[in-house]
Amino acid sequence: MNIVVCIKQVPGTTQVKINPETNTLIREGVESIINPFDENAIEAALQLRDKHGGKVTVITMGPPQAINALKDTIALGVDEAILVSDRAFAGSDTWATSYTLASTIRKIGAFDLVICGKQAIDGDTAQVGPGVSEFLNIPQVTFAVGVEINNGVMKVNRLLEDTNEIVEVKLPALITVVKQMNTPRMPSFKGKMKAKSAVIPTWGAKDINAEDGKIGQKGSPTSVVKIFTPPPKGGGELLSGSVDEMVDALVKKLRDRKVC
């Protein structure tokens, strides 16, 4: 079984601090990490490969330094990794990103399953997985929390708002996975050694036969016109007194504001 996993490098949010004066993220010195949901996607792929055999290929579209994220995936046991990087991809929105990743997967060749994280924690759109499956013309199953494959039929447990929906789909297909799906493994010593010597190819726009008008900013229907920090929440108040006094004060405030 050939599995392709799409990952993204994102700022490591655990280290992100907010500048109290400007209320913006302080990004200097913030390390990049693999998007946490994508770690679950990799783990899901490795577990399926270990059970059914085959190969796991990880791809990412990003700047040259994203190669580090790919090396980390080799250390986890991924068979192959490909960096998709080209100045022509800069400014891609989710439409152009989906197109680019789908073109890359087509170029890789025959596949049975594509796995993505449910969303990236920087943009939070959850739009790329469905976009990739549309461009590949395969069915999608989003928000997967469990997956089994028997004779080419995949049974997926979807984690919805208040329900688990169980669906069946024939491969090839694409799934996006949620955090609760599994616990990602740690890299092994052998894996780390392998990552060191791994040669990771970089593919540009020409390599994936991407159409010029469909990539990068040119290929992106949407554009950002303004970025700003949300107005700070005013009126934070620490209540004081005995527990009874604090509880009484809180209840009065909530009743005055008619919230309960």
Binding site: P11, T13, V16, T22, L25, R27, P36, P63, R87, A90, G91, S92, D93, W95, S98, I121, D124, T125, A126, Q127, V128, P130, G131, P139, F143, V145, E161, D162, N164, I166, V167, V169, A173, K179, Q180, D212, Q217, K218, G219, P221, S223, V224, V225, K226, I227, F228, T229, P230, G236, E237, L238, L239, V243, M246, V247, D248, V251, L254, R255, C260
Partner: protein, 398 residues
């Protein structure tokens, strides 16, 4: 296509440095320098520059004849005949946008034959027209049949704007359609407005866990599509006397779209109130110390009609099911009142609930980060505070 710093205008003020989400800008010799390998042309720095010294130039290739597109559509997500509450919010907001543009507000309703009642309801909530497509295969939402039917209807009727709720269904569906019909799509919007001059839809959304807001436009593609976060906009008002037009169709669903089959739906019985729709949420964290202590949270939530939420630590520990999890890896919520009990407030948790109207924090650690976002904070032992709060609220509410 590209980005450049206009050196004559740049004074080296460094305002652009914190604005860059990718850390791609540095200032040397009092001029900003952009690292093109890191920059992804996101557009953050030009809007931060007070001197118009950063310019992004863009070529536009895929342009459609925009004049052919008009009216605003709202996707009327329904589940077993119940229209999702976010649809009523979208009709309320859509009405304002339609007024600003001088166009009609239309609802798009898919289901099996038995959805006439819902069509009438959508009109009473403000839709001028309801496009109603019925087929047995459309009874329950599945991606491909819905995507095909809606894409075909968009191609045929050419709406200018299409709004979806940012629910699991809306997010699954809208992106598939956008890819198919070359439309721009903005995720999880919390603000929508029509620009007076350009008549473009200005779509504002949180990013980076709500620490940054971005306004996004779709200049040359139609329709302009958004998914909209539930509970942000006011519900439309119901008017039983409103009249409108129902335009029916019965599309034939192609076999090639019937690839995903629903075999079961399991409702989480522990979830009395759906978190995403709850007006009040009471959440418990690691401070509860043991799974059975969630009953304190349930009792408090029960008295004020709230939903029960949970921090990631408690879900990971298996104290409560993952449908309750609030935060970056769980659900993003914005209730009117969020009570965080024994939750320290890791940034991932704050990202999921920081936009709640009123936040109450109860925690014994005065340095817990949750107090930084709390409207009202009580530093104290939750095992003492919460039962008293429950009792007091029960008393005053009668």
């Amino acid at each position: 296509m590209g980005i450049k710093v206009i050196n004559d205008k740049c004074i080296g003020c460094k305002l652009c440095i914190p604005a860059c989400p990718l850390g791609a800008i540095k200032v040397e010799n009092r001029k900003a320098i952009i690292d093109l390998d890191k920059c992804n042309l996101c557009g953050a720095c030009p809007s931060s520059c007070k001197f118009n010294a950063i310019e992004i130039t863009k070529e536009d290739v895929r342009v459609v004849d925009k004049s052919q597109y008009k009216n605003i559509w709202v996707f009327a997500e329904q589940y077993e005949g119940d229209v999702h509450p976010v649809v009523i919010e979208l009709l309320g907001e859509g009405k304002k946008l339609a007024k600003d543009l001088g166009v009609e507000l239309c609802a798009l309703l898919l289901g099996d034959a038995d959805i006439e009642k819902e069509a009438k309801e959508l009109i009473e909530y403000g839709a001028d027209k309801v496009y109603m497509a019925t087929a047995p295969e459309l009874k329950h939402y599945t991606t491909l049949p819905y995507s095909t039917v809606i894409s075909d209807m968009i191609r045929q009727h050419k709406p200018e704007i299409v709004l979806f709720g940012a629910t699991t269904t809306g997010r699954d569906l809208a992106s598939r359609i956008a890819a198919r019909i070359n439309a721009g799509l903005t995720a999880d919007c919390t603000g929508l407005a029509i620009d007076k001059e350009t008549k473009l839809l200005m779509q504002t959304r949180p990013a980076f866990g709500g620490n940054i807001m971005a306004t996004i436009i779709c200049k040359n593609h139609r329709p302009q599509m958004s998914t909209v976060r539930p509970k942000v906009f006011k519900k439309a008002t119901l008017d039983h006397s409103r009249k409108g037009q129902v335009i029916k169709s019965t599309p034939k669903i192609d076999q090639s779209d019937l690839l995903v089959r629903i075999v079961d739906m399991i409702k989480d019985a522990t979830l009395k109130v759906n978190l995403a729709e709850a007006e009040i949420i009471v959440s418990g964290g690691r401070g509860l110390q043991a799974p059975e202590n969630f009953k304190l949270i349930e009792e408090l939530a029960g008295v004020i009609g709230g939903a029960v939420g949970a921090s990631r630590a408690t879900v990971d520990a298996g104290w409560i099911s993952s449908h309750h999890q609030v935060g970056q890896t769980g659900k993003t919520v914005c209730p009117k009142l969020y009570i965080a009990v024994g939750i320290s407030g890791a940034i991932q948790h704050l990202a999921g609930m920081g936009s709640s109207d009123i936040i109450v924090a109860i925690n014994k650690d005065p340095d817990a980060p949750i107090f930084k976002v709390a409207t009202y904070g009580i530093v104290g032992d939750l095992f003492e505070v919460v039962p008293k709060l429950t009792r007091k609220l029960k008393e005053v509410r009668g």
